[in-house]
Amino acid sequence: MLAALHSLVRRRFQAVTAVAGISFEVMPGEVVGFLGPNGAGKTTTLKMLSGLLHPTSGEVSVLGYTPWKREKAFLRQITLVMGQRNQLIWDIPAIDSFELNRAIYRIPPAEYRRTLDELTDLLELGPLLRKPVRNLSLGERMKCEIAAALLHRPRVLFLDEPTIGLDVTMQRRIRSFIAEYNRRYQATVLLTSHYMADVEALCRRVIVIHQGSLLYDGDLNTLTQRFSTHKTIMVQLKEERTADLRAYGEVVAYNDGQVTLRVPKSETASITERLLADLPIADLTVEDPPIEEVIEHVFAQPANGMEATP
């Protein structure tokens, strides 16, 4: 109690750098995924791109505009969807919120009808539109949110964790919608997520952000190659063997003669040789570890301690 009273008269502040030294370029029509753990700076980056935040230094240009100037012409061509936040008005049917957006974005009535029909079709919104938003399930609400965000056919989509909290079927639905939308309208999509499945399904290009710095920018597959330090060897034995397989590497799984070993990347060749020489092997495959594992491994390191393995 005394300590609590004491704090009445003292104050402390701390400055936090959210994002530092991030540079990248995105071409029209690309779908780029931002990967990073919580607090990495993904959302901050999206907010800078949509004009909600302005950077302390550096340049941002989207569609030729400086986002934080918030020019109307700019705002009419972008959209930001945030998984945790709603722009739909809670107590009234979604269609009424759509009407409001129509007016705000000055969408001509005919075009509005057409877009609305297409979105209703793609997202299966039919019965949902007339129910008050608070009566919709989380997944239904998300679909309506996304539709509301796309009524004005923006050229650039910023999607911040769009599938968070949704069940697997709905996640897949939304993923395929985004892919289709990108295909149909050549819209540029920047997507943040911590579901690997989102990124794997949608993004050919991945930007990894960790502790506010850009760690990697490129292909998803190359990511694995660059950052993984281990490989997985799957061995199918011709017959049961009591030999201690731990001598070859970390045994991840073992059942019915099927062994999965985890070995350091640099020793893959030599260990494979030894296995083939020592054991009766029916089949042997060498694989990269699952992407999740690689990413996890990446995030577990402090940002400047990262080194790409040759």
């Binding site: 109690m1 609590a4 009273l5 704090s7 009445l8 008269v9």
Partner: protein
């Protein structure tokens, strides 16, 4: 006596929680001070044009103002935050946590939340009251002080029961979130002696929304305007309302069902 122990516990927890937000103290101090200045200025403007208001003299109205802040502070200290918390729990279905505790639920919900900074209001109200008493010294004797204490206790019980009844209504009508605002809006009328209001308003402020019992009745007791009948009536009403609110509370609990996820 467990009740007192529980009350003290809640008070301590509430205090420790709030002390982390030192700025709130100054906010409250400023706010209360402004409220006080407003009240005093209002009285000053009125009494620049007259000597009495409905038979009440300036110092008597000063005492009323002090009681207004004092009782208001008490209400906002414990009753209001706890009842608001109760309504929120009902809305979110989290009342279950309280109902499974091994203490009487009504006691628990009644004093759970303590807005400790409202003690400032209480202190200011007390200060004003003391100043008024000093100026009224001649007409305030032991009898009045005793009557005042009794009236204050009765008033407190009546107000508490009223708030509890209002909050219990939320068991049935979950979406009337600001039902508690009814009392707070009407409490404004307690700054002035209820006797000056037209009959229909006076009755409303006495029997519908018991603001009169919170401020005017204790004030009347203090300055010697209270009849014994009224005092006994207040005490009787207090006891009756305590019983009614308790009964209504048990009905509400029975009706309560946790909101589905």
């Amino acid at each position: 006596m467990t009740y007192l122990r529980l009350l003290w516990l809640f008070f301590r927890v509430g205090a420790m929680n709030e002390l982390a937000y030192r700025a709130n103290f100054f906010v409250q101090l400023f706010r209360s001070f402004l409220g006080l200045v407003t009240g005093l200025a209002g009285l000053a403007v009125v009494f620049s044009h007259t000597d009495t208001l409905g038979g009440w003299r300036p110092d008597e109205l000063l005492a009323l103002l002090g009681i207004y802040f004092l009782v208001g502070g008490l209400i906002n200290l414990v009753i209001q935050p706890s009842m608001e918390r109760l309504m929120e729990d009902v809305r979110r279905g989290t009342l279950d946590f309280t109902l499974t505790k091994p203490e009487d639920a009504q006691v628990l919900i009644s004093a759970r939340e303590v807005a400790i900074w409202k003690l400032v209001d209480l202190a200011l109200g007390l200060g004003v009251l003391v100043v008024a008493l000093v100026r009224l010294a001649a007409q305030v004797g032991l009898g009045q002080v005793l009557a005042f204490t009794l009236a204050l206790l009765a008033g407190g019980a009546i107000v508490y029961s009223f708030w509890l009844i209002l909050a219990t209504v939320s068991f049935w009508f979950v979406r009337v979130e600001n039902i508690l605002v009814i009392f707070q809006s009407m409490y404004e009328a307690g700054r002035w002696p209820v006797g000056i209001y037209p009959p229909w308003l006076r009755i409303t402020l006495t029997f519908l929304v018991p603001v009169a019992f919170a401020t005017t009745v204790p004030a009347e007791a203090l300055v010697g305007r209270l009849t014994v009948q009224t005092l006994l009536g207040a005490v009787g009403l207090a006891l009756a309302l305590l019983a009614v609110s308790r009964w209504f509370w048990t009905v509400g609990i029975r009706h309560y069902s946790g909101a589905s996820a």
